[in-house]
Symmetry: C2
Subunit: 123 residues, 2 copies
Amino acid sequence: MSSSYSGIVDGVEHEPMSDEALELVARRFAVLAEPMRLRLLQALVLGERNVNALVSVTRGTQANVSRHLQTLAREGILLRRRDGMQVYYSVADPSVFEMCRVVCGCIRAGLKKSSDAIGGIDG
Amino acid sequence: MSSSYSGIVDGVEHEPMSDEALELVARRFAVLAEPMRLRLLQALVLGERNVNALVSVTRGTQANVSRHLQTLAREGILLRRRDGMQVYYSVADPSVFEMCRVVCGCIRAGLKKSSDAIGGIDG
DNA sequence: TTGATTTATGAGCATAGACGCATATGGTTG
DNA sequence: CAACCATATGCGTCTATGCTCATAAATCAA
C-alpha cells in the first residue's frame, strides 16, 4: 500500500517534502487556479487550437488569452507550435485532465448544495 | 471511454462548464496552491493534530497557521474538532492526496531537471 | 517596400492574499 | 472572580497577479 502511494502521502510517512518541492507543487496548483486558464484547457481537450480560435471560444481579450497561454506553456502544460502567422497551442500533459477529474469529483462529493452549479459537468 | 471521464474532459466534449463551475474548480486548486497549506496537509496525513502541534511541525507562526487552517476547513478540506482548549484538525477529503499524487507524478514526468528538488517525494 | 493579420508584450491600475503584530475570544484551573 | 492557556481575528503592509490599453514583433501578401 505504501509503495502504491507517492508524493505528499508517502513523503510524509517517511520524511516531509523539501521546501522547494512544496513550492513546485503549489506552483503547479496555482497554474490551474484560474477560471480563464481552465476555460482554455477545456477548449484544448479536443486538440490544438490557434490563439484567435481560443479568443473566440473563451470570450476573452486577445491580450489576456495570449498571456494565459504563455503561462500555461511556460509551466509545461501546453505546447506551442508556429504555423505561418498562427500559433497553435496543445495540451502537453494530459494529466491535467486527470487532476480536473479528481477535483470535480471532490467538489461534487463534498458540496451537495452546489451540485447545481457544476451539474453540467457530466450530467 | 467518454463515460469513464468526467469534469472538464467530458464536460467540454458535450458542452463547456459553466462559469460558476469553473470558478469552483479554480477555487479548489487555489486552496492547494500554497506551500504552507501543503505543509499542513503533509502533517495531517497520519491523522488529526491540534494547532500547536501543527505550528511546531510547520515552523510557522501561530496566527498564520491558524489562518491557513481556517481556509482549509472553510473549503471543506479539513474538519475541525474541539476538545477542551485544543482544536484538532483532520483531513475531511482524502482525495486531496490523490491530487497531490497526480501533481507530483506530473511534475516529475515533465521536469527531469527538477527531479532533484522533488526526488525526496517517493525516492 | 507597404500594408494587413496574428500574436506577444510593456505600462499602469486594481485586487487578492500572505504575513506579522497585537489583541480578542473561548475554555480551563485555582 | 482572576490568571492562564490555546486558538482566532482585526489591521496594516507588501507582493503577486489578472486585466486593459496601446503598441511591438513576426509573418505573409501585393
